[in-house]
Symmetry: C2
Subunit: 190 residues, 2 copies
């Protein structure tokens, strides 16, 4: 959580953002656990809730998992640019993160993450019907044997972080951009 007495130290805000993102990845009840990921679809933007699986400050990475058959994989293969939206209503904070994402599938890193994931998380990859396929009834057919073949990792390199802190005495907003191999920071008008 952002502490108000840090409001004038812009660099400490970025550290706190990544600490909070790390908590979001680890804790299922954290508001940052389920951000919105926006991609560029064929006819315009698209957006859906995803689960944040990892946030790595030093590598500037945000990681999520998906089904290789889902439409967002097709989007990501055409356009790598993505936007993440994290919103902590209780903490009065919004993060808008832009980055570039690639899809890892059927390789060593995907295998590592598959092995480390919980059995319950793996279940959805066993669905016989690809996500978003039209279906004649809401009841799914028999699941597949394994699921790893459908498991994919969305690996996003972060390029900018836009932080907004809402408060009655006047909102605070700052932007952090990765330029020339370092983070550049600036206050923004909210």
């Amino acid at each position: 959580m952002f502490e108000q007495d840090e409001s004038k130290n812009i660099d400490s805000i970025l550290i706190q953002i990544w600490i909070d993102l790390g908590h979001g990845a680890l804790k299922g009840r954290h508001p940052y656990h389920t951000p919105v990921l926006a991609t560029q679809g064929e006819n315009g933007p698209d957006a859906r809730t995803v689960v944040l699986r990892e946030a790595d400050f030093t590598r500037r990475r945000l990681i999520s998992h998906t089904d290789i058959r889902s439409p967002k994989v097709r989007d990501l293969r055409r356009h790598q640019s993505v936007a993440w939206l994290f919103y902590d209503r209780g903490g009065n904070t919004q993060l808008r993160i832009l980055g570039s994402a690639r899809v890892l599938h059927n390789d060593e890193r995907a295998r590592e993450r598959w092995e480390a994931s919980a059995a319950r998380s793996r279940e959805c990859y066993r669905a016989a019907l690809a996500p978003s396929t039209p279906a004649s009834s809401p009841t799914p057919p028999q699941p597949l044997e394994c699921g790893f073949e459908n498991f994919a990792v969305i690996d996003c390199q972060v390029e900018s972080v836009d932080w907004l802190y809402l408060q009655h005495s006047g909102h605070l907003r700052a932007r952090f951009t990765w330029q020339d191999d370092q983070w550049q920071s600036s206050w923004l008008a909210p």
Copy 2:
């Protein structure tokens, strides 16, 4: 809220969605009050939390307000396609809505909405600095006199609604698309 005994009646789901959106527009504490709006920016998608001001089933409209100086207005003037993401964690429901948005500014409809909006909502349009402008400090300069000149309405016509209901016994998902002057519905694989 979605009632489980309606799960087999796909058309009643669409009605309930619009009822819930209507509540979201009216009630500040409703989870649908602050959806994410994704637009297509110059270099990829962008996303931010907005306030839902109106949801009109018969006109298939979702309405939000914004500052005419904000970057999303520039985005919307280039690309009308938008994606909305509504997420009700307690109600286990996600709505993904695609549509086409236009910006109303300085016209009769904008004036009507301005007159009807609360004094506190109008405050932010009086900011002397345009939203997203880099600033040397987090403290804002003196506000403008009025604000109506910066007030704009995002008027979105809905083209499709993707409804996802999360439950342990198997998620439910349905899509509603406006085609041939009516809503077409289909179950989807979650």
